[in-house]
Symmetry: C2
Subunit: 110 residues, 2 copies
Amino acid sequence: MERAFKALASTPRRRILNHLAGGPMTVGEIAAKFDMAMPSISKHLAVLYEAGLVHQQKRGQHIIYSIAADNLANSLYSFLTPFCPEARKLNAERKTARHEPEERVDEHGG
Amino acid sequence: MERAFKALASTPRRRILNHLAGGPMTVGEIAAKFDMAMPSISKHLAVLYEAGLVHQQKRGQHIIYSIAADNLANSLYSFLTPFCPEARKLNAERKTARHEPEERVDEHGG
DNA sequence: CTTGCGTATAGATACTTTCCTAATTAGGAA
DNA sequence: TTCCTAATTAGGAAAGTATCTATACGCAAG
């Protein structure tokens, strides 16, 4: 949760997530759109990955990043639950609709 | 949106929000629970206020802070919408289901 | 092995955030 | 006015973050 919110506190990182919402992308693809040096993009992606907000998939020499919408929603809904119970209801609906047994907040850290 | 996410990126600030979920509080009340100097708490509350996540209400020499659950939820749902359409549906439900004034700063007593 | 491409890491610098103590502002009581 | 309490603002030290350039790693092709 801590990492997720810190990751989302950066405008470039939120913009990266919005780009990834359109589909998986390589680092170079993203860097080309942002007028930012590739190492910076790489760092931002690492932060998002550590926060569990994106997935990595190696394909040859490329690394394809894609959004981890489940963890993204789960983090925010979990935080929101104490303040608005609807978030909890929706979170439960999401899980049952996907036939997923439990929350999967940390699937990248194995 | 930018301010909201930056405000939420701080663990002390999220803990303050969680405390405020139990009801309105003065700055001194919060500072007493956090083992943090009052000026620091005051600063955090100012950040939360600038982000629209809490309300202020002056009562004599006290300033009572309370949570702005609507804005909190709205910020996160708006951000989530591109990634999970359910957030949008829920956000719309929240707005139409509300038959009462938005700001109820004093519902826990006083 | 070397070459070339895509990506990640290292080091340096500038900027921002966080937290404290000390001082200031503001309200209420005498 | 003077005094007490509540909250903010000011100043500064320490830690964290963002970004760049330069370099190293990993994979594919020859």
